[in-house]
Amino acid sequence: MLILQTLLLGPMHGHGIARHIQRTSDEVLQVEHGSLYPALQRLDRQGWITAKWEDTERGRPMKFYRLTAAGRKQLIVEESKWKQLARAIAQVMRPA
């Protein structure tokens, strides 16, 4: 879900996505960069993102990922599920 959300902002390569998640979560979510890749592969397989090698300003070609229309829909679905879960937990934790 987090990957999809990140890509909402625009196409990005794997390294960029990892950095973005780390930064935006105020360094709370420390993720091993490499562990993103299986997830990226899975999302690609499901058809929610597409990938393409492109050149960067640094001169190194990197594989960029983009959100697809299906991916956008999936993001909405996942977000609502997450909100449901969060609400449920909050209700349990509410002081009696």
Binding site: E32, H33, G34, Y37, P38, Q41, R45, R58, M62, K63
Partner: protein, 920 residues
């Protein structure tokens, strides 16, 4: 084995990871780290690239080809981790598959064999069936000519008739034939031995001149018969030798083609050699092929070419292209009707019959029910063994998968679909199965080759050569592959399904004991154990029944002496020029000389009972012919010399025997059996009664009663001379004129008949060494009949198979039960920690382990009881339940299971409960 797609994905990922690392390294350098440290930091931030790659790879193999390949590689790796158990599984399965394949190959080679010819699918067998004589299926030669000349559906019509011929002046005739081989003596089957003779009998086949042309077969040396040569062959017979006969008897002498052989006193020129193992339309390989045109010359006084009533020939035809079987059949039926009108109405061929065409095969179209039953039995038995082997392996798979729960749990949690996992596990099973299939195939070839060689060696040469093609063909390969895969799916599916149940959390915690190994929670394992027990039990009991049945058949008392009688077959080889009178004198001399030998009690001229050659006659009493179903009731009769009854030990219960004077004078007297007397004169004294005998079968050259009125002078005890299965329904004995000595002589000895053979041989040779004499103890004759041999073979085979099944089942049960108990070690600890006594826990475990075995026994016994009912109806000499099998085998299997559960339970019990608990 890697697909290009996979390779490109690998490279792409590699490139991406490298790009990522470089990017991160650049950033670190930008922050001021030296290049080495930057790279190191990048790696650290990234994580372990190898495991990342692995996980990505796991997720990739979604295309079926990649899946299969990956499964295969995985399947190849996994079993090697557990080599011992896998080897056992493969071995068990290969035995099961091997045995099945062997039976199938043999069946294939024998039953499904087509005729050896060009385009065999065009060939048909032609039979005739009569309403009251289903065994009649041959045609006379003139009839064959009629069909050949008038039918339009065939491009060629051929016939064949076989007979034995006397071969003389070849390299010295053997005095004693080859001794029976191991297999035949195992079955209790002994062949007659040639005691004397200057000639040897060989198997000959008479065929029309177009035979080889129609079949499309050419000689491997010299040439075959050709149409248009009838004229030549009539006076100068030309013959072909079979390859094996040429090799065996003449050591493949190349000079033989073109030279001559003396057959039945006629000089025949050898013009060619037929291909190896060629048997044409016949069941076995004849030694010599002769043209039909030569038959009257070679078999003097027995001209088949001009006898429309002698049905000697088997007919085959080659359909013209485009003509269907049904068309040809219709045409033949029309021709048959026309032909029938030409025959005299009263005789056989003038009576009603139908023509039937079937696919070309060396065998007749109607297998006897006993043969079919035996074949079905054998195939059923081996299938059951395979089932046991599969259950065996399934159990092993189950046990193994229990140990792999952790690995399976990981794969499930990584997103592998259940179906994918099942497929993977099935691939493993399939791989094991295919390996086992390969081994089984090897096992089969070796066994079959051994058997064929042994059997071929033990058949005496007089029987021709039985050539079995047991080389594998496409059908056999396909069959083996099919059952291997079926077996793989069979034993792999259930454990795979069970193992892949998504119970992730406990799997990840490595609670191997709770899936597939838990107490009573594995229904599947219980089922496997129980079913193995049931099947094995069933198999063994059935085998036991068969063994008992056939040994019981041996003990049936036929009513006459069998243990001290030597049966002699005395034949004058044709071509010697002996007149009938001379032959009779020689035989009489033989009888006299043999009677005076010490150790010989009496000698009589007579045909041994239970060996066929039966003649029947209708009987009229008080002027009334006894009828049944509109035709004369058939009574069996035979001619018996005065000392026949004494020699065979048949008591006369009323009246007296024939006197030699009565036999000499051909006085019209008769002796009947008790059953016959009861039937003809119920409640009355039969002695002195008169009745009329009229023979039903009339063969020229034989003596038979034609409207003969006889007076009853004695009643003999009932015997079984027609079939061992039942007492004769009727028997009439007529006095045998002393000059009517047939080919058979029976010698009653004091001691073992086999011991007297040497003396008998010597005496006969001093009288005339040209006479060909075969000898066989009478007991052997009885066990030598096909029905008996079949039931014996079936018994031996099924016992072997049954024991094999027992071995497999025992091993399987032992393995599964002990494994299950080992898995429950922690339970022992728990229970003991909770205060249970050691003995109680052990007893509980044993009891629970034995439960599936017990239910298996119950099911097996029920099935076996049902089977014994069916079997007794089909096979000979079976009845009642056999205690040894019904009690012994279950006891054995229970003992195995008991041992299997007791040993590990006992080992588990003294363990410190804490250790057991921690085992989890």
């Amino acid at each position: 084995m890697w697909s290009w797609r996979r390779r490109s994905r690998e490279r792409d990922l590699e490139r991406e990871i490298q790009a990522h690392l470089d990017w991160e390294a650049d950033e670190q350098i930008g922050r001021g780290l030296p290049p080495d440290e930057a790279r190191y930091a990048a790696h650290r931030a990234f994580g372990n690239p190898t495991s990342i790659r692995e996980i990505c790879r796991e997720g990739w193999g979604w295309t079926s080809l990649e899946t299969v390949i990956q499964d295969l590689r995985y399947a190849w790796r996994m079993p090697r981790k557990n080599a011992g158990a896998t080897a056992m599984a493969v071995l068990a399965l290969s035995v099961g598959i091997g045995v099945n394949t062997a039976v199938f190959t043999a069946f294939n080679a024998v039953a499904l064999r087509p005729i050896q010819a060009a385009h065999p699918q065009q060939l048909v067998n032609i039979h005739r069936t009569e309403p009251d004589d289903p065994s009649a299926e041959r045609f006379s030669y003139p009839d064959y000519l009629y069909y050949r000349d008038h039918s339009q559906s065939f491009s060629g019509l051929i016939a064949a008739t076989g007979d034995s011929l006397a071969l003389r002046a070849a390299p010295a005739a053997r005095r004693v034939t080859s001794l029976p081989g191991r297999i035949s003596s195992l079955v209790g089957f002994q062949f007659p031995r040639q005691l004397s003779g200057s000639a040897e009998f060989v198997a000959g086949l008479f065929v029309p001149e177009n035979y080889f042309l129609v079949l499309g077969i050419s000689a491997v040396r010299g040439r075959t018969f050709l149409p248009g040569q009838e004229q030549d062959f009539r006076n100068h017979p030309a013959i072909l030798l079979s390859y094996s006969f040429w090799q065996r008897r003449f050591s493949a002498d190349p000079g033989l083609v073109g030279s001559t052989l003396n057959l039945n006193g006629v000089v025949c020129t050898v013009i060619g050699i037929t291909p190896k193992d060629f048997m044409g339309t016949w069941v076995n390989v004849p030694d010599i092929w002769l043209p039909m045109a030569s038959q009257p010359l070679v078999q003097q006084g027995f001209d088949l070419l001009r006898r429309p009533e002698v049905n000697c020939c088997r007919l085959n035809g080659r359909l013209k292209p485009g003509i269907a079987l049904e068309q040809a059949q219709a045409e033949m039926s029309v021709l048959a009707e026309q032909l029938r009108a030409k025959h005299a109405a009263g005789l056989k061929n003038g009576g009603p019959f139908t023509i039937l065409l079937t696919r070309g095969s060396p065998f007749g179209w109607r297998p006897q029910p006993q043969v079919m039953a035996t074949v079905m039995l054998i195939m059923g038995a081996v299938a059951l063994v395979l089932l046991i082997a599969c259950a065996n392996v399934a159990g092993l798979q189950l046990a193994r998968s229990a140990a792999r729960q952790r690995e399976i749990g990981i794969r499930l949690s990584l997103g592998a679909g259940r179906r994918r996992l099942v497929r993977q596990l099935l691939t493993e099973s399939a791989m094991v199965a295919i390996i086992a299939g390969g081994l089984g195939l090897l096992f089969t070839w070796w066994t079959l080759r051994l058997l064929v060689v042994t059997v071929a060696d033990s058949l005496p040469t007089e029987w021709g050569t039985l050539a079995l093609q047991v080389d594998p063909d496409l059908r056999v390969f396909a069959y083996v592959l099919l059952i291997s895969l079926a077996a793989g799916v069979l034993f792999g599916l259930a454990p795979a399904l069970e193992a892949s149940k998504p119970n992730l959390t406990s799997a990840l915690k490595d609670e191997g004991a709770s899936i597939g190994g838990g107490p009573g929670r594995s229904r599947l394992r219980d089922l496997l154990v129980g079913s193995q027990v049931a099947v094995c039990l069933f198999l063994l009991i059935a085998a036991g029944l068969l063994v008992r049945g056939s040994s019981r058949a041996l003990r049936i008392d036929p009513g006459f002496e069998t243990r001290h009688i030597l049966g002699l077959d005395v034949e004058v080889p044709p071509g010697l020029g002996y007149s009938a009178a001379k032959a009779a004198t020689l035989k009489r001399q033989i009888i006299e000389r043999l009677s005076s030998l010490p150790g010989v009690r009496s000698v009589t001229a007579g045909h041994p009972p239970l060996t066929g050659g039966l003649r029947t006659a209708s009987v009229s009493r008080d002027g009334q012919r006894l009828m049944v179903n509109g035709r004369g009731m058939a009574f069996y009769y035979r001619y018996a010399a005065p000392n026949y009854f004494d020699t065979l030990g048949i008591p006369i219960v009323e009246g007296r025997l024939f006197t030699p004077e009565e036999a000499e004078a051909k006085t019209p007297v008769a002796i009947v059996s008790e059953a016959t007397a009861r039937r003809l004169w119920p409640g009355r004294d039969p002695l002195g009664q008169r009745f009329l005998l009229d023979a039903i079968e009339r063969f020229s050259g034989e003596v038979y009663p034609a409207a003969l009125t006889v007076q009853l002078i004695g009643v003999a005890k009932d015997i079984r001379s027609v079939s061992l299965a039942q007492v004769d329904t009727s028997a009439v004995y007529l006095p045998k004129p002393p000059d009517q000595i047939g080919d058979s002589v029976l010698v009653r000895t004091e001691g073992e008949p086999g011991a007297s053979m040497v003396e008998v041989a010597r005496e006969i040779q001093t009288i005339d060494s040209n006479l060909v004499v075969y000898a066989q103890p009478l007991g052997n004759l009885l066990t030598g009949n096909p029905a008996f041999v079949f039931s014996r073979l079936a018994a031996i085979f099924s016992t072997g198979i049954g024991l094999l099944g027992l071995l497999l089942a025992s091993v399987g049960i032992f393995g599964m039960v002990s494994y299950a108990v080992v898995q429950r070690t922690h339970e022992v600890g728990v229970r003991m920690a909770l205060g249970a006594g050691k003995g109680d826990v052990v007893r509980l475990i044993i009891r629970q382990s034995l439960r599936p075995v017990g239910s298996g026994v119950a099911v097996g016994l029920a099935a076996a009881a049902a089977a014994s009912r069916i079997l007794s109806a089909l096979l000979f000499g079976l009845n009642s339940l056999d205690t040894i099998s019904f009690v012994g085998v279950p006891a054995f299997l229970l003992a195995v299971a008991l041992l299997a559960s007791y040993l590990p339970a006992r080992r588990a019990a003294p363990v410190d409960p804490m250790v057991a608990l921690r085992y989890e």
